[in-house]
């Protein structure tokens, strides 16, 4: 009886401090809602970044994440592009491949020190040589504009290709590494007069839902461009597997690293990809030669013959 009276008193009659308590609880609820919203946003970001990090770069390639800071904007935005927050100061150069966890997004069209413009594969000016994953049929995939399907060009009438097949980069243009997924075949048609099939494909990413992307760098290119290994590049210490392997278990060989043909001249970055073999070690010198200080070449693509000419030129000049 006493308990019931006490409960009745405290529940229905004694309201001292209830208003202040109510205000305090409402304030706490607002703060908790705000915190919950921020945490949900963080969780979403973590999930996206985790997917980005789960993407294993091909051998001799490293990746660097970038955030999309702007999509098409303004009257001069005539191409299908977006802007990312990394530029030449972080080693980005024109034609750097840009990928998402789902597949190839595009390539860098132009750069500034702190930002870069990425040309999407959906733009009509984008053409990428691809190969179908199952039947190994080659072609060139071309964008057709926003919210339109891509077109696979130059596939001969008799070439085998199936609907639903994934198209991967062939690496022939030496911009994208081989084996990155680009698009999925949606329809295959035939035209009576054309020598080629009419093939449509959809990109594997949603352009308007992208928030973060990854750029791929050849390990040597990034080292020589920045002078030092870029800090955010994740270390690939485990055996690297290519993203896509052809059926039959045959693993495609990684393309040889482009750039200077004298890998010994480039100081290997600690922990950056596979170690570059030094041909100097394989050919033992008959006599010990005092080691000269080696310099990293200033031009990435400078041929060794050119470098040799440049070294010889001052000698001739001094002799005249």
């Amino acid at each position: 009886m006493h308990g019931q009276v006490s409960s009745f008193w405290s529940r229905y009659l004694y309201f001292v401090g209830i208003r202040q308590q109510n205000d305090q609880l409402l304030s706490d609820l607002e703060a908790a809602k705000k915190e919950l919203s921020e945490l949900r946003e963080s969780a979403s970001e973590v999930e996206r970044l985790r997917q980005l990090l789960s993407m294993t770069p091909p051998a001799d390639w490293t990746r660097q994440g970038a955030r999309i800071i702007s999509h098409r904007l303004g009257p001069n935005a005539a191409l299908e592009t977006f802007l990312i927050d990394k530029g030449s100061a972080r080693g980005v150069s024109v034609n750097t491949p840009v990928v998402s966890p789902d597949g190839v997004v595009g390539r860098v069209l132009r750069i500034s020190p702190t930002a870069a413009t990425v040309l999407l594969i959906t733009d009509p000016n984008s053409r990428i040589p691809v190969v179908s994953q199952k039947n190994r049929t080659q072609g060139i995939i071309k964008g057709e504009g926003p919210s339109k399907e891509l077109t696979l060009l130059y596939v001969a009438q008799g070439a085998p290709i199936e609907e639903g097949e994934i198209l991967v980069t062939s690496g022939l243009e030496e911009i994208f590494p081989k084996g990155l997924p680009v698009a999925r075949v949606t329809s295959i048609g035939r035209s009576g007069s054309s020598l080629f099939q009419l093939i449509a494909a959809v990109p594997l990413f949603a352009p308007l839902q992208l928030e973060e992307v990854a750029m791929l760098f050849k390990a040597t290119a990034l080292t020589s461009a920045t002078g030092a290994p870029a800090t955010p590049v994740p270390v690939v210490s485990q055996p690297v597997t290519p993203l896509v392997t052809p059926p039959g278990g045959a693993v495609p060989l990684a393309k040889p690293v482009k750039g200077p043909k004298t890998p010994a001249a480039i100081p290997p970055a600690p922990g950056q990809g596979a170690p570059v073999p030094a041909p100097v070690i394989q050919a033992p010198a008959p006599q010990p030669v005092p080691a000269k200080p080696v310099e990293a070449p200033k031009k990435r693509d400078a041929a060794p013959a050119d470098a040799e000419k440049k070294r010889r030129k001052p000698a001739r000049t001094t002799g005249q």
Partner: protein
């Protein structure tokens, strides 16, 4: 410049960039430039054009110079037109908007031709039409707001 005007032009810039993000291919800052040429000292439109040019050149995908041509042609059209029309007439703004829409189509086509690019024509036509329609309406709104700014001699 008065503080109210500084706030006004800052808000015009922010809202213009936001709207340009929502409707790509349309210049929401151009009506502001015309209004600045009509209502402010000559230094104000020069500064605004300088800042907005950087925004357009940085965010656009055309080679450097397209923005200069764009705003240069707009200023030229305005100076040429205000000899023939009353500068604050809505009809003049409507004609200016139509010229701007046509210029967007022409300029992008020429720049794309020089770069050997292909541009989707349907989208370009849509953007040109949007530009022609949005320009006079936005100018009218900005004109009204600007006239009701505090310390404005036209303010009621």
């Amino acid at each position: 410049m008065r503080p109210a005007n500084i706030v006004f032009w800052s808000l015009v810039t922010l809202l213009g960039v936001w709207l340009q993000n929502l409707v790509p291919g349309v210049d929401f800052l151009a009506p502001g430039l015309i209004l600045a040429m009509q209502e402010e000292k000559w230094t104000v439109p020069v500064w605004l054009a300088f800042i907005w040019l950087f925004i357009h050149e940085g965010t656009g995908s055309m080679p450097f110079g397209a923005g200069i041509l764009w705003y240069g042609a707009l200023a030229g059209l305005y100076f040429f037109g205000h000899w023939l029309f009353e500068a604050r007439n809505f009809l003049f703004m409507f004609i200016l908007g139509a010229c701007l829409g046509a210029m967007h189509f022409f300029l992008i086509n020429v720049m794309a031709l020089l770069q050997d690019w292909s541009i989707p024509m349907e989208r370009l036509l849509t953007e040109s039409a949007q530009q022609a329609l949005i320009f006079p309406i936005e100018w009218g709104l900005l004109y009204l707001i600007h006239h009701y700014l505090p310390e404005n001699r036209h303010a009621a």
